[in-house]
């Protein structure tokens, strides 16, 4: 396709978006109906699962190939033509990862009220994006976040630090997404995990490589539609079946009341003990108040500092639309996040009433499929069949013959994945949920990979190594780097690193400590100097990284040299680990220990979980920027005039990229 032709048709393209995606949504619904008919006709479940996954992957790939581009501004910022509403949808898909889609409801199931810290933290950050940072970066006119740092803070040294922060937080995050695709594909398609990881990789590359931001934008919208339909369908049906109203977000209040009543009943009947029952609505049992509010703050501020999110607002046609787009983003994210607690409540009620307290021979059969995979355990053994659980529980002395709360262990991923079966829905709905989970993981991985590859190709290669590189070479370098980063992330994911899920939380704290103070001060305080910002970024990011690495990988050294002590149990206030005894163990000073190490992740300052290390780093960053800036001369009049320009939506962008 000639570039001139694509320009002529682009106006029509934007105008026709509503019709295109409307048709697409209708087509997807028709496809679900078709598969439901196939299921009635007796097509085996496995085939249905494959059809779902491959059909959706094919659609994303077709969009990815059709929107390929050879223009820089299309590749990096989708030509800055994406309307607010659609950019909101794309951001929603960019934002909601496998962890949100599959893991969030499970976390809420396990942690009850305390789990809501994640829901709050992963939504409220958009307020900060809109009022403090996003629209100003749009006006600035950057291709990447390091672009802004470099311009505002005196060149390539600041750019380099910003790239380090970006790569540190994005790479761990993208690895977790690719791991997520592997888990979903292996669970639903029975593929081998390592194979599934690389199959997911192909899907990601097909979307992102040829068209960069432009292709990722239009596929993410398609992915959002799939993921939101997949997330809401099972629970809407379940709510209608149980309470007669198709709005689960309203009806689960009743489920919560039932859970609370049932909790008391279970205690009275000896089915649970005060020690192992965590009442669903009681706060601060799993997290201390400091850590609860710390998680909310770190996730919110981290949201406003993550480059792959900020970069989505570079694609809107205007500053005004950037702001509207943030509002739409949060609306589309909200649709999923305010439904997650409903999943948790319905599942918990099902488990508490239909599993706990049942005679071993009468438990409901939906759990055996998950038991086979080791995701549900009863009496310490995989709950693969009635015989298996009866045998396992008989082995426990004095077992009463009914399932008690302490006998039952469930993997958090099962909550969303098993809801269709709990509700007694046909398999086609389970396939739909798998397709939705894949869409969530792929779309986030696309956005993250693009953020990393763009930082490497645009900031490192073009701006620091070869500023005279012609367009063709810049795009080629961008694509080659994208490919290698993706393969690297997939290779890391296929080794199943043990910290992979914790790393997503760490990414937020690292982004918060490294980026937030410099971004905010750079826009809101003209007096911020380059030296101040650079010192602040290094200090904040450094402290956060030190706290993470020390508490996780060098806990013995933290105790011996840095005055760290044991974290405490939120419910009882008792220390998690007896430091004096643990320090006497032969492995006390072990470096890079596994999670089984008695002190790993269990020591720290001020009783602060290491996931909240941004709470240490960001304030230090602000302080250092403030103090160091005041020590030096104020920034040039010219720079101050640029900052004034950023603050006014009207007018040209500061950076004008030649393309």
């Amino acid at each position: 396709m000639a570039t001139s032709k694509s320009y002529v048709s682009s106006g029509d393209f934007i105008k026709n978006l509503g019709r295109m995606y409307g048709t697409y949504t209708g087509g997807f619904l028709a496809f679900i109906v078709l598969l439901a008919l196939l299921e009635l006709a007796g097509v085996p479940n496995r085939v249905l699962g494959y059809l779902f996954v491959f059909f959706t992957l094919a659609v994303y790939a077709i969009i990815g190939v059709m929107t390929r581009t050879a223009e820089l501004s299309e590749y990096y910022v989708a030509g800055r033509r994406v309307p607010a509403f659609y950019n909101g949808m794309a951001t929603g898909a960019d934002w909601m990862s496998a962890a949100s889609f599959v893991g969030m409801a499970g976390t809420l199931f396990l942690l009850g009220y305390d789990g809501i810290a994640w829901v709050l933290g992963w939504t409220g950050g958009y307020v900060l994006v809109s009022i403090l940072i996003g629209p100003y970066l749009r006006k600035f006119g950057a291709y990447t976040v390091p672009d802004f740092m470099a311009f505002r803070f005196g060149g390539n040294f600041a750019r380099g630090i910003a790239v380090v922060v970006l790569v540190c937080c994005s790479f761990t995050y993208v690895t977790a997404q690719i791991y997520g695709t592997g888990i979903i594909a292996s669970r639903f398609l029975g593929m081998q995990f390592e194979l599934a990881v690389f199959a997911g990789l192909v899907g990601i590359l097909l979307c992102a490589m040829l068209g960069g931001m432009r292709a990722v934008t239009w596929t993410q919208i398609a992915q959002y539609i799939v993921l939101i339909i997949a997330y809401l369908t099972p629970i809407v049906i379940l709510s209608t079946k149980k309470y007669g109203i198709p709005i689960p977000e309203l009806t689960y209040g009743q489920a919560i009341a039932d859970i609370t009543a049932r909790e008391q009943q279970m205690l009275a009947m000896g089915l649970a003990t005060v020690a192992n029952l965590k009442p669903h609505i009681s706060p601060f049992i799993n997290y201390t108040p400091l850590n609860f509010f710390g998680i909310i703050l770190c996730m919110m501020v981290g949201t406003a500092s993550l480059p792959h999110i900020l970069m989505r607002y570079f694609t809107t046609p205007s500053v005004r639309e950037a702001r509207q787009s943030v509002a739409w983003s949060l609306f589309f994210i909200f649709l999923l996040y305010f439904s997650a607690p409903a999943y948790a409540a319905f599942s918990k009620l099902e488990v508490y009433t239909n599993i706990i307290g049942r005679d071993l021979t009468e438990v409901r059969p939906w759990m055996f499929q998950w038991g086979e995979l080791g995701l549900i355990q009863v009496c310490g053994k995989n709950a693969a069949s009635i015989d298996a659980i009866v045998a396992a529980c008989k082995a426990i002395a004095g077992h009463p013959g009914v399932v008690r709360l302490q006998d039952f262990v469930i993997n958090t991923d099962v909550i969303v994945l098993s809801t269709p079966e709990i509700a007694g829905l046909p398999y086609v709905i389970s396939g739909l949920v798998a397709a939705g989970g894949l869409a969530a993981a792929l779309s986030t991985a696309d956005g993250l990979l693009l953020a990393i590859a763009n930082a490497l190709s645009h900031d490192i290669y073009y701006k620091m190594i070869d500023p005279n590189a012609p367009t063709i070479r810049r795009l080629t370098v961008a694509r080659v780097l994208l490919f290698f980063v993706a393969v690297g992330a997939a290779a890391t994911a296929s080794t199943r690193p043990s910290d992979i899920l914790a790393m997503v939380g760490w990414a937020f704290s690292l982004a918060m400590a490294g980026n937030f103070p410099a971004l905010v001060m750079g826009v809101w305080w003209k007096r911020t100097t380059s030296t101040g910002a650079i010192a602040g970024m290094i200090a904040g990011f450094g402290l956060c990284l030190f706290y993470l690495v020390c508490t996780r990988y060098f806990p013995g050294y933290g105790v011996a040299y840095f005055g760290m002590s044991s974290l405490t149990n939120a419910a009882t206030g008792a220390p998690l680990v007896d430091i004096a005894a643990a320090m006497k163990l032969p492995n006390a000073m072990e470096m890079w220990p596994t999670l089984a190490h008695p002190m790993a992740n269990k020591v720290g300052w001020f009783n602060l979980n290491n996931i909240n290390c941004g709470l240490l780093g960001a304030p230090l960053g602000f302080l250092v920027i403030y103090v160091v800036s005041l020590m030096g001369p104020e920034p040039s009049k010219e720079m101050q005039a640029y900052v004034d320009e950023i603050r006014k939506p009207r007018g040209r962008t500061i950076l004008e990229e030649k393309s």
Binding site: I131, Y337, R650
Partner: protein, 91 residues
């Protein structure tokens, strides 16, 4: 509407923008943190018909709704400020 791009106009625009920012940060602080500090007493209140304890409801839904509404309001309000001072982009 068509104000000149003078120093005074620029400062007035930024003062209003800053004020709006602090107002929204205040509301954000309230719904993000302060209200959840009172979760225990709020949980004693049960929302009629729906059956949610209020403290739980605010964290699981109430605050989220507040954030979404806030953002749409902010986009409007900031745009109004920009237009008043002649700094809004052409429609």
């Amino acid at each position: 509407m068509n104000q000149p791009d003078t120093q005074a106009n620029q400062e007035a625009h930024w003062a209003k923008t800053t004020r709006l920012m602090f107002i929204h940060l205040g509301v954000w602080l309230f719904f993000g943190y302060i209200i959840h500090m009172f979760v225990v007493p709020l949980n004693k209140i049960v929302i009629p018909i729906l059956g949610f304890p209020l403290g739980f409801y605010m964290a699981a839904q109430g605050s989220l709704i507040a954030f979404v509404v806030m953002l749409f309001m902010f986009a409007k309000q900031q745009d109004r400020i920009d237009r008043e001072h002649g700094y809004a982009e052409d429609d």
